[in-house]
Amino acid sequence: MPTPATTLLAIGTKKGLWLASSTDRQEWTLSGPKFLMEEIPSVGIDTRGGRTRLFAGRMSWHFGPCIAHSDDLGETWAEPREGGIRFGADDGAALERIWQIQPDAEDRPGVVWAGCQPISVWRSTDHGETFILNRGLWDHPHRGEWGAGFGGAAAHTVLPSPADDTVHVAMSTGGVYRSDDGGASWEPRNKGISAYFMPDPDPEFGQCVHKVARDAVDPDRLFAQNHHGVYASTDRGDSWQSIAEGLPADFGFVMLTHPHRSGTAWVIPLKADGERIPPDGHLQVHRTDDGGATWEGSGAGLPQAEYNAVLRDAACVDTAEVPGVYFGTRGGSVYASADEGRTFQEVASHLPDVLSVRAAVVPG
């Protein structure tokens, strides 16, 4: 059994789920796979209330998607028997893929959000046993104009604010939407984010935002990695400003923020839409400590040459005092940093394509 200082890293891949654990974030023990031959596009670790529940968004190409959870650190898993994430008979839709599993804030115990394909947001109030479709977004008048990114039409990011009833959702393609009333109603919030691939490059919505992350200290502050373009907002998404200057490329999928400090974020640039590789095959994690004014890249401990992409949820931070940074590649390598992304070491290699990672310090 893990000791009180154990860090757990859940690794969702194209062919199953692996788990890694470490007491020092240097030496890792890898176990798996669970759900062999199922895609795991989303994982979640809920440590609220002193208990740990792991979530996996599973996708069998034969038998469809489902959400599963484990209360024994991944030894055994259960599917919600009646609930889970299921459209109703009158919705005329079937769940295709669970892209995001997001436990809410500490003072909302039991609340878990999910973002799914087709574009939909779901909310559970019973620790992920039963999810209710968010009608405000499902019935949104823009729905007919939302498109599909290369990976499918999905709400891939759900960010409930710990401060109030604000919730941000990002979808590909559709852009960023914000609710000020806990999800009852939604408005697009994309001013300043370019949609260069559309006839009007500055539409109200339709942007292909790849990932959004919220500042841990200032919940009005957001960071976004777009389909070309890296942006920040200091007004809850009312307006966005480019912070791409200083990066080797403005394309990528990852956006991470520091769990305790304001203004620190990480991205993992890829060269371009048409060349989805690290710039010059040189994999680096880039970090800003000043809200995007300046960036510093680090590849210490990473391979000299790497031509695989890092997908939007294949990167995460843990919540330790000095947070760890983790990511996996489509080449099946997983890297961990115990020093906020300055140096990395390999946790696993030659796994199937890494689709999702989440890490947390878990009680023993």
């Binding site: 190409w61 469809g64 489902c66 028997r81 299921r86 919705d91 839709a93």
Partner: protein
């Protein structure tokens, strides 16, 4: 529908990957009505086993794209789909299709 009823019945063959939902069994005998079709057989199979039903059919009731069902060796997609009639004594085979990589 009770699995031991004296009514006409069919045998449903369960693929290995779905046996976790039926206590590891490879075959289940189900009673059927005179006018049974594949959908009603699946309804009976899913009674008390919602997770099994979810693996075979989408929420809309549609057969999952990569799940095949055969009635006495005939692919129901080449017949009337889930409305294909199921005679008493039939063998219903549920199979995952050849897909993936």
């Amino acid at each position: 529908m009770p699995e031991t009823s004296p009514l006409p019945s069919v045998i449903v063959l369960i693929p290995t990957l779905l046996r976790q939902y039926v206590d590891g069994r490879s075959a289940i005998r189900l009673s059927i009505a005179d006018d049974a079709d594949v959908a009603s057989v699946l309804d009976g199979l899913g009674e008390g086993r919602p997770l099994l039903d979810q693996r075979i059919r989408e929420e809309t009731g549609v057969l999952r794209r990569y799940v095949n069902i055969y009635v006495d060796g005939e692919d129901v997609r080449r017949l009337d789909g889930l409305a294909t009639a199921v005679p008493a004594g039939a063998t219903i085979m549920i199979m995952q299709s050849v897909a993936g990589g």
